[in-house]
């Protein structure tokens, strides 16, 4: 009994210094896909990490098989999510692409796979609805997050509750089309994808996710991030 028919899920993991987290993420993903009976592959796009991320990825490739773990190295000065995804997509053989951070920020529970039954073009994880949420955030961080999201909703009316989360499932051709159209960098890029997707008439489903603060490593949310977020938001406001 084939659970997902001929569907195959390609998970794109851009990494930089994720030596600690990467095996755990891969293990969690592998377990979730095995349990749901879906065919999958994990494409690791590493930007020349000096901490041995690539070496760990190669070990994982041996353990899980090179049809399941695909290691791609890029070394670029202007490493951005966009570059990594473009690179990763070239090697993706699935018809669905999952994009998530490689750090353990996204508790891997793939309701996505089930949610996909709504036949959405995109399924987006949201921290703000249902039983989605966060762990390990202080009041200040929560306030900034909610405030920023409110401004985004007012200005962009995107039709999705969480634009800056980056745990999403896309149909492959949808992602390809969006990558052609989107020009921003960093997480503004994630926002732009949803906005453009709406303009192009793609259907977007939402699934609550738990954003557990980085288990290893530090999160960054300083004045610089806020300023660049606002700049990106205003750019999207003026151009989409």
């Amino acid at each position: 009994m084939a659970a997902g028919g001929a569907d195959k899920f390609s998970v794109l993991l851009p990494t930089y210094n994720e030596r600690e987290n990467l095996p755990l993420v891969v293990w969690l993903l592998a377990r979730t896909f095995r349990e749901s009976g879906n065919n999958f592959e994990i494409i690791i796009i590493d930007d020349g990490s000096p901490d041995g991320t690539q070496e760990i990825a190669e070990q994982l490739e041996k353990i899980y098989g090179s049809d399941k773990i695909v290691m791609k190295k890029i070394i670029s000065v202007l490493f951005s999510s966009g570059t990594a995804y473009i690179h990763g997509m070239k090697h993706a053989t699935g018809n669905f692409i999952v994009i998530m951070d490689a750090d353990l920020s996204h508790h891997v529970s793939l309701h996505f796979i089930k949610q996909k039954e709504g036949n959405f073009d995109i399924v987006s994880g949201t921290r703000y609805k249902g039983n989605g949420g966060v762990y390990g955030w202080d009041l200040k961080r929560k306030l900034i997050s909610r405030g920023a999201n409110f401004i985004t909703q007012v200005l962009l009316r995107p039709g999705a509750s969480d634009l800056t989360g980056s745990f999403r499932l896309y149909r492959k051709e949808v992602l390809q089309k969006l990558m052609e159209k989107c020009v921003s960098k960093g997480y503004v890029f994630q926002m732009e994808m949803i906005v453009r997707a709406r303009q192009l008439g793609y259907t977007i489903g939402e699934v609550p996710i738990s954003f557990v603060d980085r288990v290893y490593g530090e999160s960054k949310l300083g004045g610089n991030e806020i300023v660049s977020f606002l700049k990106g938001l205003l750019t999207l406001f003026a151009t989409t």
Partner: protein, 111 residues
């Protein structure tokens, strides 16, 4: 964009690509409301509305701004207060991490 000779194709105006930017929509909306307000509130003596209406209309923009400000504060405050803390998810994750490390070690991963 590149110059186009010839008439604008009507179908292009109807396509999604021709939609206004959000900024454009805001400017249009504000221009419409603004001119309506200005026409009614600043009309010459002969065409004015009765005094009570004018008195209510004049400060309306400020009232709306303040109302929106209150709405924003209330909404963000409410959402902040109801922002879920995922205790269970965090605990689950810790267990998963232990299980993952044990299993991977068994399968030969050198951390």
């Amino acid at each position: 964009g590149a110059g186009r000779s010839g008439p604008v194709r009507f179908s292009r105006l109807l396509s999604p690509q021709a939609a206004m930017t959000k900024l454009g929509q805001w400017l249009c909306g504000l221009a419409l409301l603004g001119s309506a307000w200005a026409t009614l509130a600043l009309a010459p003596p002969g065409l004015q509305l009765p005094a009570p209406y004018r008195q209510a209309l004049l400060p309306l923009p400020v009232y709306l701004l303040v109302a929106f400000g209150c709405y924003s504060l209330a909404t963000v405050g409410y959402r902040l207060a109801t922002f879920n803390d995922c205790e269970e998810a965090a605990a689950e994750l810790q267990e998963d991490i232990s299980a993952a490390r044990a299993d991977l070690r068994r399968r030969g991963l050198r951390f």
